[in-house]
Symmetry: C2
Subunit: 460 residues, 2 copies
Amino acid sequence: HPILNTTSNDPPNPPIDHRTLAQNHELFLTSQYSPGSPLFLPNGAAIFNKLQAFLRAQYPQFGFTEVVTPTIYKKSLWEVSGHWENYAEDMFSVKGRGASGQTVNSEIGQNEEFGLKPMNCPGHCLLFASKPRSYRELPIRYADFSALHRNEISGALSGLTRVRRFHQDDAHIFCRPIQILDEIKSTLDFVGMVYETFGLGPYKLLLSTRPVDHFMGTVEDWDKAEEQLKLALAHSGREWSINEGDGAFYGPKIDIVLKDSHGKEHQTATIQLDFQLPQRFKLQYQAPLEDLEGAVSPHETSLDSGHARPVIVHRAILGSIERFMALLIEHYAGTYPFWLSPRPAIILSLNQNPDVLAHVNNLQRQLTGNTPRRDADGLPRPQPLDRIPLAIETDTTPRSLGKKIHDAKKMHYNFIIIVGPAEAANGTMKLEMANQPESSRLQTLEALKDILGGKEYNSR
Amino acid sequence: HPILNTTSNDPPNPPIDHRTLAQNHELFLTSQYSPGSPLFLPNGAAIFNKLQAFLRAQYPQFGFTEVVTPTIYKKSLWEVSGHWENYAEDMFSVKGRGASGQTVNSEIGQNEEFGLKPMNCPGHCLLFASKPRSYRELPIRYADFSALHRNEISGALSGLTRVRRFHQDDAHIFCRPIQILDEIKSTLDFVGMVYETFGLGPYKLLLSTRPVDHFMGTVEDWDKAEEQLKLALAHSGREWSINEGDGAFYGPKIDIVLKDSHGKEHQTATIQLDFQLPQRFKLQYQAPLEDLEGAVSPHETSLDSGHARPVIVHRAILGSIERFMALLIEHYAGTYPFWLSPRPAIILSLNQNPDVLAHVNNLQRQLTGNTPRRDADGLPRPQPLDRIPLAIETDTTPRSLGKKIHDAKKMHYNFIIIVGPAEAANGTMKLEMANQPESSRLQTLEALKDILGGKEYNSR
Ligand SMILES: [Zn+2]
Ligand SMILES: [Zn+2]
């Protein structure tokens, strides 16, 4: 078996900027028509979608369910959440342009201004609050890949790292205060699994605790929550430390600080506890006695009798997917692991012989799945849901094989497949593999599919 | 093998409104904070994501590659595309709220107004125009699932059918004029395949041709294009007819008009040719002689020498995914095919015996994949990319089995799995299946997984 790992263990130092590397692979564009909103070309979109698909495949085992929520909300929602007051400078305002939003059957606040969402949390609070909740349903864990917008100053915008439009692998956990420990343990497990998969690390964990002066709730609430975070951190087996008093006024948090292959530190994942949003949105659940006695805010008057306030955990593991992609691009330095590669394989023709060209096309169709399945009437049949698309390109230009191999290597294809007259003539799948520690000849298409179809994640 | 098909062949007539059916399945909410932007709850998001995943699995065989494009573009882009002039009433305007967008290092048009995109086409034109194109690259087919916004009047908003925020299974084909026939043939094949999969139909195809008075380009251009559309329609083997003179001024189109199970007609998919946008965006490709002689607009001066103008085909097969979901919800009348079902299966405990409850949990974890894979160090290992999540619920309340079965049927689970002390005691996977033509007892978990893991699309 040829080794799938073709990425280098020695990335260039200093790293090549992700914008330069992205150009070689045609990953994305920026445009003056939407500064800070990258346009992903097919290769970049393929990586972007693979990252989402990877997380989606993991969500069931960690108990997350995905939701789909609006892009714009009225000012009145952002007033409830506090964003309109505290986040004004960073938000985009949205208004109907025509008169069409201002007609007879208008709802309350019809002509109100909207805000383009910078975060998903308020929307998830609406979902939580949409029906009475019992402690038996908790934790509820909503995941959301929505596009988010923040109005960064234009001078600061850069590639995928400083943007105005981005996506997070965002999620909110609504849980009972006593569930914090298990949720944080599980989230730290998830973080570890993800960073291992990409061959990233080591990283350290930073706990930010209660600020001295200004904080929500009681000292006792904070102590209990921080105790659970410390237990979870100790359980993780990772290096961790405390930033005393550095937490937000609404809750303690854990930051994941990643050291990249060049020694540079990146703050990527965050796990933020929040006592405030549940209060602002008057969230509650019908609680057992133990929760009522140990309630986070026992003196609150806005709770119904027999009800307690859930805690929200905001968590993102990749953080901004765009920024994480920039990090990966530099980390892999242009040579991607097979499963993430925008250029997994190319088929080169040895010459211009029509049989050779036909065989190249045939192979490409079979490997990519571009041969529609047909039913008895000749109509195409759908491909199954678990099909992972594989982009196999071809080079059938009338150039020397040496030149084609040279170019293909420069473009960092994981596999280079060469087809000559012998393969075409006997219709077999005898193939030459290049860009590998050693070349090998495969007798069947199945053998090749087996290599290319590897479903595990090779981080290197 | 129990039959997977549990949906009824006799949907209620008149149909139950999708908003009512959606409530039973907890599919979505609407909120006064964002009228016309549905919030999908986990069950609705699962269907929404399955529909996208289904199309994604088909894209390679039809040559589409996905791209990811901005949500907001400056007014100047919408002026190029013509939307600012012709579509003003329906667009939302976006502006930075703070002073942060107005600082020293400002780009040209820094303080310009943005528009929230109602369509993806202008963004795709930017991608096409991002580098010189040769006829050898064509057709280029960009697919995009972006959220789109149109400012519908609030009085007209309703469930998933009249919305302000929606997603299309949108795509744009940039092709040579002589490629229109093949592209339309292939698109009609794709449409047929999709509608068969959902058990929808019959449908008819409507060709709208050149308007009498006001149209772009030459009569000859239109005749050639319409000729190709007619050939493709004839080739489809479907019922089709002509709406003489009913095309837009910028190109002819084909509408797909679906007759639902209640005889009501729905305009869903559209295939729209466009001679205008390529001109507005000055799109061109380096062309062979035959294209230059038969050029769509041979007299254009803005083309470089040796270059021709591509044609754009706008096409959506589901159309608005939200509206298509509404149609499916009514079509299936609350009983979804297994692969799309938000409630594929539930496990009921026969009693409250701790062994029984443990066995229920164990089964649920195994069937959903909620048992993390662990490596030697006890760390979770990632699930493979091709894993299709399966939401298996449980009912372990202390109620009679009869009552639980009754409730589970009311909630339209495709499979009802019953676990009693016998199964728990001997650790086997002997299970009772309900909600099926006949009950059956399965000896192994594998046998159950085999049934539940069916990857084909059962339309009924
Ligand atoms: Zn949040
Ligand atoms: Zn379009």
